[in-house]
Symmetry: C2
Subunit: 280 residues, 2 copies
């Protein structure tokens, strides 16, 4: 049995990719505003991009919006990724983007829903309720979490950038950095990572210093304006891993998602090679 991040690293090696393919069936991108159409949209994306996907990340909101039918479609998308993994002979981790965060038995119910019923490997969570709200999701080291740390949206600073003191016995530091320190401390089973937006490069550098070992899930490249090279330079670990670049719309809206994913995978490989050369 392996920890969640050992599993992810194995897949990263298998596909030579750091791409996390977001499965976000936005209604305007669908043929019809129905769960069936959302399902078709995702199944096509999975089929087209699986060779280049270090992970898939379905976003719960775009399924929930279709009610019970959406939930059925979400389960079908997850089952289809499992089938695609079998076909490829390389298991692709599935991260449920749900940003849940609740206490005690409620957190347990969300964990059961994600890991047992839906069958995903990892989930995004809010850290606002503290460690006991994370616990039910990390008890099993084969399952992982990405905690929100510094998000990619313009308003992220309202809370995440406030200066906090005393928490780590150091000089004032932004709240997101405090979260990074906490996550680093809590990560005793190699199954906690951080969401760090590629739209905030300075923040990403600080988070990498605070949490040198943790995996980042980095949204914000592409449509949201984040620069790929700057993000990789700021966020990669010394071993050239430790970072999933999330892409959703820029691949989903491409005329042909397969070559779009291949090109982005290759761009990342090339940037990593150049960074590696410079570091020598």
């Amino acid at each position: 049995m392996e920890t969640f991040f050992s599993f992810l690293e194995k897949r990263v090696d298998d596909c030579s990719s750091l791409l996390c393919i977001g499965l976000d069936p936005h209604i305007p991108d669908l043929k019809e505003p129905t769960a069936a159409s959302a399902l078709d949209f995702c199944l096509n994306l999975v089929k087209q991009t699986s060779s280049y996907a270090a992970a898939f990340k379905p976003n719960a909101a775009f399924f929930e919006v279709f009610g019970a039918d959406g939930w059925t479609a979400l389960k079908q998308v997850i089952d289809a990724i499992h089938a695609e993994s079998n076909r490829l002979g390389s298991k692709i981790p599935i991260i449920l983007d749900a940003k849940r965060g609740d206490i005690a038995s409620t957190a347990e119910a969300y964990a059961k829903s994600a890991f047992e019923n839906l069958g995903v490997d990892c989930i995004t969570l809010s850290p606002y309720l503290g460690k006991d709200s994370i616990e039910p999701f990390i008890t099993n080291y084969e399952k992982g979490v990405f905690l929100l740390c510094k998000t990619s949206n313009p308003g992220s600073g309202d809370l995440q950038d406030v200066s906090v003191v005393g928490a780590t016995g150091q000089s004032p530091l932004p709240l997101y950095e405090h979260v990074a320190y906490l996550a680093q401390t809590w990560n005793t089973k190699n199954n906690i990572g951080l969401v760090v937006g590629a739209t905030h490069i300075d923040a990403m550098k600080r988070v990498r210093e605070a949490a040198p070992d943790l995996w980042f899930l980095a949204p914000g490249v592409g449509t949201q304006g984040g620069d790929l090279e700057s993000a990789l330079k700021a966020g990669l670990r010394k071993d050239g891993k430790g970072m999933l670049i999330n892409v959703s719309r820029s691949i989903a809206r491409a005329d042909n998602p397969k070559p779009a994913a291949a090109e982005l995978r290759d761009q990342i490989v090339n940037i990593k090679r150049d960074l590696n050369r410079k570091a020598r």
Copy 2:
């Protein structure tokens, strides 16, 4: 058309109650671990307690855990509350306890799911992503939100109690108090409230000072150990309103939920009367 909190206050006046009845179909409390059993459990609670409910609060996690069937049951519970409101001739607000928090179009999808598809009036949200993540939920002033401020769980202090400096130009203050100030500022349409646990009375006093006008949703009385009188003393507004006391298990697990709810409603009325006398 009225704002969400005008609507809530009207209901509070109609039923002389500050009780928010939590609809949390925990699996151990059900006859069978099925969505149908969760539905029965909630329908019974709604029927028994509606006369004393200032609001109902279904918790999304305990429905999600049953997948698509759970989602259907959640919608049926909400429809049943609407029917019960019609029967009573007094509309009972429905707060979806979901603690969502996401950005841009994702937040819009969650808002559409809750307000349009499920048909609730209010939702609980995490503040960690900042104001733009709240915006899609508060655009329509008839719909409301309760933002997590100081939660009732033991680990809430990991983030919520860290000392923030400089944010409001004052001396260091706990993060939860900063959230209270932000919420007070953001509440331009009378549709933002705060979740403040009844297990942290000192924190509740501080939040009431920081946000003298906002409504609180206060979990933690009963099973979690919060004291009703202390909570009301710390959290009520000067007008004797401004606070919903959430109860779930202590009513749901009573041999007879109806008199249990009636008794708790009366306890609150009596405590309020005593507090009012002392204040004169």
